[in-house]
Amino acid sequence: MSTQPAIRLTGLTKSFGSVNAVSGVNLDIAPGEFFSMLGPSGSGKTTVLRMIAGFETPTSGTVELFGKDVTKDAPFDRDVNTVFQDYALFPHMSVLENVAYGLRVRGVKIDARNNAARDALALVRLEGYGDRKPTQLSGGQRQRVALARALVVEPKVLLLDEPLGALDLKLREQMQVELKEIQRRLGITFIFVTHDQEEALTLSDRIAVFNEGGIVQLGDAEDVYRRPQTPFVANFVGTSAVFTADEAKAVLGHKGACSIRPEHLEIVRGKAPAGTIGLPGTVAETIFLGASTRIIVDLDAGKRVAVLEQNDLNTTDTKLGTKVTVAVYPRFLAPLT
């Protein structure tokens, strides 16, 4: 990369007692990137975020912000701001005072900071809410206030810790679009922590998948989804049928461990199309999902796979116990390391 990274983590490690919450994370995040840290709870992603923000001191390793080592700096000396999972709005202040807070502690005069706060509220579409108390707002509105409060001080990097976790599905999808728009408009680096794979795939330029305190795969959404490198990624980001090297050889006649997505399998009657591997089996279960149906097939070779079938005009009739053939397109087999 020609430009200096916004964030560079080198050998970042954090132990709590004898437990390694994060071990040896190396990562460069480019300026203006929408970067997601995706992983289950306890995978270390939030701890990494807290070390970037300065709330946790690394046991070893360094955090660099635009080339400057900030590992030992207090949170208030770092040019990064955080949108907290529980929003952490100050309950004794009005919405406007909350948003203006970062400017207030920087000594900005009251008129100037209130104007800036009103602009920030407008950015998150909360004009006219300045006089309310945080308790008088809905979850989605509080979320926007927290975002406005972090953005008003114009950070170079914005950290978002599961910011949409507490919202219901519709609101979450709406906020995802807004977040992406705001990020594109302001050109700030966003580091987004989530355990929701769909959210990460939708929003991110790049995704780091975390498991057990380290990054297990790093790449753009398509990379991570299409070419999962480990069984963990294959099943944490979406679902996959995972074949060990032995299974792959016995069932697929394929060399080396691999995985395949349910939507890349096809149920056929009779002979499998040319160029595919046909696997005979019995329908064990069907789960109707609306636009698609998930069909679980017990292969005769002794492996259970899931097939996602679109409910379009050519839907096959698959009752429980039906003998079917599952067609595997070899080019969709993702090799595992």
Binding site: F55, A88, L89, R104, V105
Partner: protein, 264 residues
């Protein structure tokens, strides 16, 4: 929950009897302070405000009231400072012996007053070679007043958590700014409630006071105990008792109002 009529009546009667048992004697004290009888005989033969006039010009009573107010105020100030510092130490930091310190801090409120009294009396006189007086009473009261402040502030810190302070620090505020703008407003009402309780606790304390006051300083409860059985002093004692009731009720009432509005 739905209750049958009989159990409702039963509960009402029990409640009324219990409250009557607590408050009727207090009411009697109030009536006695206006009684024409010198020996607090019952029923009062007549009513007069003579004792109120006498009590309010009685040098001993007045000085006892001001002594008690000063002692309560001083021990409350000490309790606020130490109690707050303690609750922050025990909530925010982990250190060797933390749970022991926690126990030792709370223990004085459970220890029998007479034990605390004897122990402090001994320590002040024989070990430290000090004259008993203002200083020793205030220190003795502070030992249990600290607990009420600590309990209130500690509970508040637990409830509020640290995320607001993290947010403040994240937005660029230094440690003192964060304390002034975020932490203090969050614990203010807990400090107030703890302080009031501590004031009330010190104001009517008698056992520890007896052992640490010496002969020169007389607090209000000690004044009452000394004068209760003296001839002609009983009605004045009743007046002083009513004054004490008033001074004790107001802070407790305010403290309770504060905690309920906070919980809403």
């Amino acid at each position: 929950m739905r209750l049958s009529m009989t159990s409702k009546i039963g509960l009402w009667v029990t409640t009324a009897l219990t409250l009557a048992f607590i408050y009727v004697p207090i009411l009697v004290v109030v009536l006695n302070s206006f009684s024409t009888s010198r020996t607090l005989s019952w029923p009062p033969p007549g009513f007069t405000t003579e004792w109120w006039g006498k009590a309010l010009t009685n040098a001993g009573a007045l000085s006892a009231i001001s002594t008690s107010l000063i002692v309560a105020a001083a021990s409350t100030v000490i309790a606020l400072l130490l109690g707050t510092a303690l609750s922050f130490a025990l909530h925010r930091f982990s250190f060797f012996g933390k749970s022991t310190v926690n126990l030792l801090v709370v223990l004085p409120i459970a220890l029998p007053g007479i034990v605390t009294g004897i122990a402090l009396n001994n320590a002040f006189r024989t070990m430290l070679d000090m004259q008993l007086g203002w200083f020793t009473i205030i220190v003795a009261h502070a030992t249990f007043c600290v607990v009420t402040v600590f309990n209130n502030v500690f509970a508040r810190l637990r409830r509020v958590g640290t995320s607001l302070e993290e947010a403040s620090s994240d937005l660029g505020a230094g440690i003192w700014t964060t304390f002034r703008l975020v932490t203090f407003p969050q614990i203010r009402s807990a400090l107030f409630a703890g302080g009031l309780l501590s004031f009330a606790l010190s104001f009517d304390e008698i056992i520890v006071t007896t052992f640490t006051a010496g002969s020169g300083v007389q607090t209000l409860p000690i004044f009452i105990l000394d004068n209760m059985f003296r001839p002609n002093q009983a009605p004045i004692v009743a007046v002083v008792a009513v004054v004490m009731i008033l001074i004790a009720i107001v802070p407790i009432y305010i403290a309770q109002r504060l905690t309920t509005t906070d919980n809403r």
